[in-house]
């Protein structure tokens, strides 16, 4: 029983890692304060769940989840290209609300507030991942691949160009860099991995509804990215572990679940506030949040 609980936590950590590493690419490396990340996560979860319920094999579901989210990343990049700072944050946050409204109201497709139950557990190469231990291996594998790809992007010359555009967009343009291309690629890749994380979540929990993807879900991810420190992937991994574990003791104190939910949010939001006030660079941050 206890080991089942540990496995469950590790799976959640894995999903949070993918989600926050991808946000780190947009926020830390490209300076895009994207508060619409949860929307990509939702898109990935819904695409994957709907396809799987229609009988499509898992590997196609998860890849399409990433690709559709990526497409929306590109689409969001076009109108938000010229926006900076607060305006970009609010426009992307608005995107989260629009996606939420669509999942809630397009009942023919998403069943609205009833949600999508019975999402099948993944089967890959004839191996079923219905067992949580197996699912953990799958999650860890995908998390490691995501980390390696994002790491590769971040330290390649392309990643340096992203950081250049983050530090000084005008100078990057003057040196011949198409900063719109840089920013839209960054947002799209970030969205791709958020979509992958959404797919994993949907197939793990086997039930999704619009309430799984409100801006409340943004707080832990945002907290992980900022606490780990901008432009630090290792910091993000560590923060994902720590922040997923921190609220867990609440369970053992014996609070009812109606208290634990909001209490978790309060803990995350409070940690985020304290870090902004006392250590805005996070623990391993290389860049100031601006």
């Amino acid at each position: 029983m206890f080991s089942a609980y540990i496995i469950h936590l590790l799976i959640l950590i894995g999903i949070y890692m993918i989600l926050s590493l991808s946000l780190q690419l947009a926020m830390g490396y490209s300076g895009l304060l994207n508060l619409g990340h949860v929307a990509f996560y939702a898109i990935g979860a819904y695409v994957s769940a709907l396809l799987a319920l229609a009988g499509v094999p898992f590997w196609i579901c998860i890849i399409l989840a990433g690709l559709v989210a990526m497409l929306f990343g590109f689409l969001l990049a076009i109108p938000t290209n010229k926006l900076k700072g607060d305006y970009l944050a609010l426009a992307t946050l608005g995107f989260t609300f629009v996606v939420y409204a669509v999942t809630l109201n397009w009942t023919d497709l998403t069943r609205g507030p009833l949600g999508l139950p019975g999402i099948p557990k993944p089967v890959l190469f004839g191996i079923s991942f219905s067992d949580n231990l197996h699912f953990l291996f799958l999650t860890i594998t995908i998390a490691i691949i995501s980390y390696l790809i994002i790491k590769q992007i971040a330290r390649s010359p392309f990643g340096k160009a992203l950081q250049a555009a983050r530090d000084d967009e005008l100078a990057a343009e003057i040196l011949g860099k198409n900063t719109f291309k840089l920013k839209s690629y960054s947002l799209a890749i970030s969205a791709f991995f958020a979509g992958i994380a959404g797919s994993l979540y949907a197939h793990y929990i086997t039930f999704i509804d619009p309430s799984s993807f409100t801006i409340m879900q943004l707080i832990p991810v945002l907290a992980i990215v900022i606490i780990g420190g901008l432009a630090s992937l290792e910091g993000t991994l560590l923060a994902a572990i720590i922040l997923t574990l921190i609220p867990e003791p609440l369970r053992f104190i014996g609070f009812p679940s109606s208290i634990i939910g909001p209490a978790r949010q309060i803990i995350y939001a409070l940690i985020l506030l304290l870090i902004l006030i006392f250590r805005p660079r996070g623990f391993f941050g290389k860049v100031k949040l601006e």
Binding site: Q163, A171, E173, L175
Partner: protein, 245 residues
């Protein structure tokens, strides 16, 4: 090399650039001078595409670059140094240079597959460029931590290494100490010897007359005189423009 034809830019009612036409010759250092507010920096912003012209045309070589986006103009052969430092503060000196050297970094798939490590030749080129400005010792230093003078030098080196046909410099010696000034004069002279085409804005007349081969004088958004430094020194109109206010 660079030709402006009746370029206009108004900000509301202010005629920042009002029908400005001039051309600069290749392999020469041309200085754009004029009193404060005569529209010099606006001209630079129009040339580099940061601002859009209200009317008129700008040519770089035989290419019409009017109102193209800055990165396109840059890739057609323009390199610029700003008046204030515009370095990538969280990147090292070397990284700042390697971003400028070419556009390999924009090829996403190649980068994703790790097929484009920075080559030895590139590193060598960067080293040489830093050598010229005397900053070769600590290429790993973050640019945000450099002194004002060092920042100016990195920016100059970065603009030089950025592939270009025309280099434009906005007040390259503003606020630098005399020693650094000498250094920058020497760098510019070397550029001229190497056959580079340079257009610069400068308020410091001693500096301007010591490095420029040709001078274009602006006042109230228009070109009022053009010629060699000797011509300009004795031009009545120029004196009036400077002393009139």
């Amino acid at each position: 090399m660079l030709k402006l034809e009746k370029v206009k830019k108004y900000f509301g009612g202010i005629k920042a650039v009002d029908g400005c036409s001039f051309a600069i010759a290749p392999k020469k250092i041309t200085a754009l001078i004029g009193p404060n507010g005569s529209g010099k920096t606006t001209i630079f912003n129009l040339i580099s595409g940061i601002l859009k012209c209200d009317s008129g045309r700008i040519f770089l070589g035989d290419k019409n670059i009017t109102n193209l986006s800055p990165h396109k103009i840059s890739n057609l052969g323009l390199s610029r140094v700003f008046q204030q430092a515009h370095l990538f503060d969280n990147l090292s000196i070397e990284e700042n240079m390697s971003i400028a050297i070419d556009n390999e970094d924009m090829k996403f798939v190649k980068n994703l597959l790790g097929l484009n490590r920075i080559s030895k030749e590139k590193k060598q080129k960067i080293k040489e460029a830093l050598n010229k400005v005397g900053l070769e010792k600590s290429p790993q230093h973050l640019c945000g931590e450099l002194s004002y003078g060092q920042k100016r030098l990195v920016e100059l080196a970065r603009a030089i290494i950025n592939p270009h046909r025309l280099l434009i410099l906005d007040e390259p010696v503003a606020g630098v100490n005399p020693k650094l000034r000498e250094k920058i004069i020497k760098i510019l002279k070397d550029l001229e010897k190497a056959g580079e085409t340079v257009l610069l804005i400068e308020h410091d007349m001693n500096f301007t007359f010591s490095v420029a081969n040709r001078i274009v004088v602006m006042d109230a958004g228009q070109v009022i005189a053009e010629g060699t430094p000797a011509n300009i020194k004795n031009n009545k109109q120029v004196l009036e423009a400077y002393l009139g206010d």
